[in-house]
């Protein structure tokens, strides 16, 4: 969300504001799941907000991101309107995707969010392709996506993926392609300690950074609870990408505070103890960043954020439900209408 580099104090407050926004958004979204307004549940990113806030603070408006099933933070940090995001989760026509995508497919091309993705790892090669295309002026063909603030051909793509995703073949294939063709891509692995119930040591031989190293991709591991550390590492990776030197990887070590998916709130599978979760919560990115700004500033941001999010919930609830007759409108960009299922 950062345009020009702001003063240090503003930057710290800006990061806090984004973290607080995501935290409050997820709290309200979980409530709306409980009350049945949001159907299908969500994958909350609570505890991981510093990754979204820090990475997006290092990007420019013309840069693009792809996200995951746990993507609310990424979408908001890149600049999507929280009200339209909440309306999307509620399946309303006022949502970002007009109620066609929901939590796992939220997209906002106007701010460079090329979509969350429900298939683990699937967005990584998509981001690589977008990054490659953005380097080329020919990509600005007639009627094609063009960011509101196009800033030349040194735009980069950033792709988020979890620790579980680094065991997907297509992710490693994409590492190879991106490195081989030096595409301007930033690879952000959110290592939140779990792939659903499984820990990285249960599913991953070797390490995330060693996988990158195998392709000659520079990789660092940072404290994913510290938004400033995340921002600085991402800024370095993005700068490298902009100069044409190719992709870099940033592994952000974080912790998922809430459920893998909200079904856990009722099903309660046992794969970690309450004590472990308590220990994980000890380093809360909201507190880490909150401690860096003045108390009064923090209180003012909290109050503003609460007001904004309450308004977002009202906006979502006020949005119209879509007309069933329009269910497959837009299935084809060319306007082709599919045959109906019953005549």
């Amino acid at each position: 969300m950062a345009d020009a580099p702001p003063a240090a104090g503003d930057a710290a407050a800006g990061l806090y504001r984004t973290i607080a926004l995501i935290r409050g958004f997820e709290q309200r979204a979980v409530e709306l799941v409980r009350s049945g307004v949001i159907r299908g549940g969500i994958h909350p990113c609570t505890g991981q907000e510093a990754v979204a806030a820090g990475t997006c603070a290092a990007l420019r408006p013309g840069d693009v991101v792809t996200s995951t099933h746990r993507g609310h933070g990424h979408v908001l940090a890149k600049g999507a309107d929280p009200a339209r995001m909440m309306a999307e989760l509620a399946g309303r026509t006022t949502g970002l995707n007009q109620g066609r995508g929901g939590s796992m497919h939220a997209a906002d091309f106007a701010v460079g969010v090329l979509g969350a993705n429900a298939i683990v790892g699937a967005a990584v090669p998509i981001a690589a392709g977008a990054a490659w295309a953005m380097r080329r002026s020919a990509a600005y063909g007639p009627g094609t996506y063009r960011p509101a603030a196009a800033d030349g051909t040194d735009r980069v793509a950033l792709t988020y993926f979890g620790d579980g995703a680094v065991s997907q073949g297509v992710v490693l294939e994409a590492f190879n392609l991106a490195a081989l063709w030096r595409v301007p891509l930033v690879l952000v692995c959110e290592n939140n300690g779990f792939a659903t119930s499984m820990r990285p040591q249960d599913t991953m031989a070797g390490t995330v950074t060693a996988r990158a190293a195998a392709f000659g991709i520079p990789a660092v591991t940072v404290d994913g609870m510290d938004a400033e550390a995340v921002r600085d590492a991402t800024a370095e990776a993005a700068a490298r990408a902009r100069t044409g030197a190719g992709p870099s990887l940033v592994e952000c070590v974080t912790y998922r505070f809430d459920a893998h998916h909200t079904w856990e709130h009722t099903a309660r599978p046992r794969y970690r103890t309450d004590a472990e979760v308590e220990a994980g919560r000890a380093r809360d990115p909201l507190e880490v960043q909150g401690a860096r700004i003045a108390r009064a500033t923090r209180a003012a941001i909290d109050a503003e954020t609460a007001g904004l999010l309450d308004a977002a919930v009202r906006y979502a609830l006020d949005g119209p439900h879509p007309d069933p007759a329009t269910a497959l409108d837009g299935l084809y960009a060319s306007g082709l209408r599919p045959r109906a299922g019953a005549l």
């Binding site: 693009v64 792809t66 949502g95 970002l96 995707n97 007009q98 109620g99 066609r100 995508g101 497919h105 997209a107 906002d108 091309f109 106007a110 090329l114 979509g115 993705n117 298939i119 699937a122 090669p125 998509i126 981001a127 690589a128 392709g129 977008a130 990054a131 490659w132 295309a133 953005m134 080329r136 020919a138 990509a139 600005y140 063909g141 094609t144 996506y145 063009r146 793509a157 073949g169 297509v170 294939e173 994409a174 190879n176 392609l177 081989l180 063709w181 497959l328 837009g330 299935l331 084809y332 960009a333 060319s334 082709l336 599919p338 005549l343």
Partner: protein, 323 residues
């Protein structure tokens, strides 16, 4: 009049579109030296920025094309083997195809997937002989199977210009075909428009891809006994239902010859739709591969799994009530 081969038609279509639109680019394995011929000369003409030899990473480069398309490019992806479509079904059916709807119309994914040499290549055995076009029609990905060199040119041009993903099958059985054409008359062929190759009044034979030639041969054999109309849908999805209905208005009898496996093949859909909505005066028939066919290696066995002219002739006679 110049003579155009089917493969040269594909090659010409790609070259013409790359000339016309700088957003068109080509990705695939060995496309530089063009082992499949369809991309011959393109690297020299358009350079490595637009003609990319890829690592053997079908899943990644297929979705790479999706991302490039979302950022404004119009990629054509070539696959060396039709069975590779099984590898990238996720990337085409579950990613590229779904973005327009899932994003609420925020993006489009204009990617063309080209399969030069689909179906049996004559004893290439189990993993090189599939013809999975019905799968793509089933999931609603635009699916094209040109039967002639002129249509190969016209349909590939349209596929590249289309704003949605399109899979183009170029059957191995059609690749050797040549046609005398006036190059100036080569033109885009719209998706969803069939072509009547031979008019007739007794039986409509719907033939897909390389089987059009077999259908024409059978029609000729039967001339004098049964008047056969040969209808080539050219595009399997979207399908030219109106064109088929018009043909059945004339004939009232239907045989489909289709190189899919029998269960859930496109032939099943054609017969079902005709039965539900069109004029039929006799029960329709299909000539297809057997259920679940894995093409065996030995030539006799490979051929035993493909629709034959004899089978088609018998089906036409049965439906026409002769012989």
């Amino acid at each position: 009049m110049p003579n155009l081969s089917y493969l040269k038609a594909l090659n010409r279509a790609i070259g013409d579109e790359m000339e016309r639109d700088p957003a068109v680019c080509v990705l695939g394995e060995d496309v530089g030296v063009a082992v499949g011929y369809a991309t011959a000369g393109l690297l020299r003409r358009f350079g490595p920025d637009r003609v990319l030899d890829t690592p053997i990473s079908e899943q990644a480069f297929t979705s790479f094309a999706t991302g490039a398309a979302m950022a404004g490019m119009r990629p054509l992806v070539e696959f060396q083997i039709p069975a590779l479509l099984f590898l990238v079904f996720e990337q085409i059916a579950n990613q590229a195809h779904k973005f327009a709807l899932m994003t609420g119309g925020q993006t489009r994914v204009p990617v063309t997937y080209l399969l030069p040499g689909s179906g049996s290549r004559d004893s290439w055995a189990g993993q090189h002989s599939d013809h999975p076009y019905s799968l793509f029609a089933h999931v609603g990905v635009k699916t094209v199977v040109p039967a002639t060199a002129t249509d190969a040119y016209g349909l590939l041009v349209t596929a590249i210009r289309d704003d949605d993903p399109v899979v183009v099958f170029a059957p191995a059985g059609a690749l050797p075909l040549r046609e005398d054409v006036d190059f100036g008359a080569l033109a885009p062929v719209p998706l969803g428009s069939g072509r009547v190759h031979r008019a007739g009044t007794d039986v409509t034979v719907v033939a897909v891809g390389h089987l059009v030639r077999d259908a024409l041969a059978v029609a000729e054999e039967l001339a004098g006994t049964v008047s056969v109309e040969v209808f080539d849908p050219r595009t399997l999805y979207p399908f030219d239902w109106r064109g088929l209905a018009a043909s059945l208005e004339r004939t009232g009898r239907l045989v489909v010859v289709d190189d899919s496996n029998r269960t859930c093949g496109i032939g099943a859909e054609i017969v079902a739709t005709a039965a539900e909505e069109m004029r039929l005066t006799a029960p329709p028939r299909r000539v297809t591969r057997p259920d679940g066919a894995v093409l065996p290696f030995a030539r006799e066995l490979d051929l035993a799994c493909q629709p034959t002219r004899a089978q088609l002739r018998a089906a036409v006679e049965k439906v026409a009530g002769v012989g």
